[in-house]
């Protein structure tokens, strides 16, 4: 994947670029908004990682300008502020996701991958991973033809994971997408829901589909 990283803090930029390259991505770097905007307009990127606060041109202005210039590359904002307003501002400016510093690299990687492989917004009526099927209209789940009984929130988790099948989904991503929680609860609510979901979809079947990725999150995978 070709990734543009616009970040003025050298240490953070080194850390992010090194990690992304280790995972086989190509990374172009800019340490200010103006250079970032120039690169964003001249090269095709799969994802842009943009810091909110930078000299010369801040991240918000960069993304606004890029969107005005019809650059459709998905944008992940990096921000040191956890305020709700900041997140909303970032999304309104044309950002697609945001991550508050400091962050775990696995979290960044999972989000970048999710952004790059955004599913096309077409109205599929059925999702399938291996022999697991989700009928979006009937809200019904079957595995190997056998009907599974899921609670509403378990269904939401499963739907999100099926749409991102094969990708690592972090605990924070689930909190945001399933519950719309943009804070970190002290209780392991994600873990308890996942363990119940896993019991329902994997128990009694020879091949598990829901895997835990240590230090990162979960992945739904058929192979």
């Amino acid at each position: 994947m070709k990734i543009l990283l616009v970040e003025d803090d050298k240490q953070t930029a080194d850390y992010v670029a090194k990690g992304l390259r280790e995972h086989g991505h190509t990374v172009d770097r800019a340490d200010n908004g103006r250079d970032g905007l120039f690169l964003a307009g001249s090269e095709p990127y799969d994802v842009m990682i943009v810091d909110r606060h930078m000299p010369q041109m801040d991240g918000l202005s960069l993304v606004k300008a890029a969107r005005a210039a019809a650059v459709k590359t998905p944008v992940l904002f990096l921000t040191t502020m956890g305020g709700v307003d900041d997140r909303v501002e970032g999304l309104e400016a044309g950002g697609d996701d945001y991550l508050t510093k400091p962050f775990a690299f696995a979290e960044l990687l999972a989000r970048v991958s999710a952004l790059a492989r955004r599913p096309p917004i077409v109205a599929a009526t059925k999702l399938a991973v291996g022999d697991l099927e989700l009928d979006l209209l009937a809200r019904a789940v079957t595995r190997g033809g056998k009907r599974l009984d899921l609670l509403a929130q378990e269904l939401k988790i499963l739907e999100y994971m099926m749409r991102h099948a094969g990708e690592v989904v972090t605990r924070t991503m689930l909190l945001e997408k399933v519950w719309d929680f943009h804070f970190d609860p002290k209780t392991n609510i994600v873990e308890t829901h996942i363990s119940r979901l896993r019991a329902k979809i994997d128990k009694g079947f020879s091949k598990p589909l829901l895997h835990t990725v240590r230090g990162a999150g979960y992945v739904l995978r058929a192979d």
């Binding site: 956890g82 305020g83 509403a152 929130q153 804070f183 609860p185 002290k186 308890t192 230090g215």
Partner: protein, 457 residues
């Protein structure tokens, strides 16, 4: 109070109240002078008119007697009146047609008609002591002349009495004004000095110092009461800030020293890559805990500053409460708690959805976290007369009454919770979010158990 008396004296002269006193004294003196002038001239004129009327009557009576009884008759009457007149000292003079004095106790004079003032010619008395007279003269048809006169000393006595009375009163007024102004402004300055002295004491570090209140409830007293209340508020804020900073230092020292211990332990004892992996994993965990505390503090501060009101919108509280409650159902089940959702439909609130979600989360988490297994926790959301009611109640061990207010303070933790994890910031955040949304929060004893009740908006 000033230590140098001359300094104090000049301060009194410069003081606003003293100047005002002087201005009032001057105004009083001016009005006293006006009153004096009015009284003086009115009284004098009245008395003069009265005397003139008496004299004129006497003179015309004598002229009438002359017309009827001739010069001799008048002479007899004048003699009679000089001898028998008891009513005040009235002087008479009758001169014949050739201006020779016939009878009378006044010296001869050229005849006049009407009023005339003159000094009695009496060589026995020194000139200054001679009586001043005012008279009324009539020249008769045959050339004879009658003069009736009165001593004006009564008039002068009265005038002098009025002058004296006003001189005393005026002098006394000015004296009282100055002394009163001195005393009043001295008193005023003493109270101002007390305020200044207290301010200096506070600036020198004694934050507990307060300006004494006199209890007279006058303007200065009211000002002092306001100032004292302001000082109370400032002291409270400062103490809160001091408390928070020492709490932050204290609460961060624990994870920091744990972090240090782990790293040191790894340096001394770790030999394999796996050992290092475990140590760094634990170190990251400790660092995350500290970052979590910072982020929670920052969030509380942001919320308390009211910065997030811009994100307010209509929030379906019923849907939100169900979503939060359902998120915790499996966790509650795992810790053998019974989580009950008692949520009325269609409860709406104008607010920030994210913050309200975190508030409800913290409340439910708090109840699950601080009660033993087999406790029942109920989340209630309902419409109320004046807005909404949100309640998280449990039938656990409750909180001692003395500690109920403190649980909303940052870092405050009950003694029995010290051993458990948690930052002591959960309820502080709840209170901040509630405050931002105009919700009043209080704790209720449910014997057994505790309820956190939020009402309003």
């Amino acid at each position: 109070m000033s230590s140098v008396p001359t300094n104090r004296f000049s301060r009194i002269l410069r003081s606003a109240s003293f100047r005002m006193t002087l201005a009032y004294a001057a105004l009083f003196v001016v009005s006293a002078v006006a009153l004096f002038a009015t009284v003086y001239f009115t009284a004098t004129t009245a008395m003069q008119n009265d005397m003139q009327a008496v004299l004129r009557t006497e003179a015309y009576q004598l002229a009438e007697i002359h017309r009827r009884s001739g010069l001799l008759g008048v002479a007899q009457e004048v003699t009679k009146r000089i001898n028998f007149r008891t009513r005040g000292p009235i002087y008479y003079l009758l001169q014949g047609p050739s201006q020779q004095v016939m009878v009378g106790n006044l010296p001869g004079m050229p005849p006049v008609n009407g009023a005339r003032d003159f000094v009695q010619e009496d060589n026995a008395e020194p000139r200054s002591e001679r009586a001043k007279l005012t008279g009324f003269g009539i020249t008769l048809p045959d050339g004879a002349f009658i003069m009736v006169a009165q001593d004006t000393s009564r008039l002068l006595d009265m005038q002098r009495a009025i002058e004296a009375a006003f001189a005393w009163a005026g002098g006394l007024t000015v004296l009282l004004a100055i002394v009163g102004g001195w005393l009043l402004s001295g008193n005023f300055l003493r109270r101002i000095d007390t305020i200044g002295r207290t301010s200096r004491t506070i600036m020198e570090g004694d934050l507990g110092a307060r300006i004494p209140v006199r209890g007279t409830n006058d303007e200065i007293d009211q000002l002092v009461v306001s100032l004292n209340l302001m000082l109370d508020r400032i002291q409270h804020l400062l103490e809160g800030m001091r408390q928070v900073s020492s709490d932050i230092a204290h609460d961060l020292r624990t994870p920091l020293s744990r972090l240090r211990q782990r790293l040191e332990d790894a340096r001394e004892h770790a030999s394999t890559t796996a050992d290092y992996a475990v140590a760094t994993e634990a170190a990251i965990g400790e660092a995350d805990e500290m970052l979590e505390i910072f982020s929670a503090l920052l969030r509380i501060a942001q919320i308390e500053a009211g910065a997030q009101k811009s994100a307010f919108a209509a929030v379906d509280l019923s849907e939100l409460a169900r979503s939060v409650g359902e998120a915790y159902l499996p966790s509650a089940e795992d810790s053998q708690h019974k989580l009950v959702l008692d949520v009325q439909d269609g409860v709406n609130l104008n607010g920030d959805r994210q913050l309200l979600a975190q508030m409800l989360s913290n409340l439910v988490e708090n109840a699950l976290h601080h009660t033993p297994a087999n406790t029942s926790v109920t989340l209630t959301v309902a419409k109320a007369v004046n807005g909404v009611t949100i309640e998280v109640a449990d039938n656990g061990p409750g909180i001692p009454p003395a500690e109920r207010d403190k649980v909303f303070e940052r870092f405050y933790r009950l003694d029995r919770s010290r051993g458990t994890s948690g930052s002591g910031l959960g309820l502080a955040l709840v209170k901040a979010v509630a405050g931002l949304h105009g919700l009043a929060i209080h704790l209720e004893d449910r014997s057994p158990g505790l309820a956190v009740v939020l009402k309003g908006n």
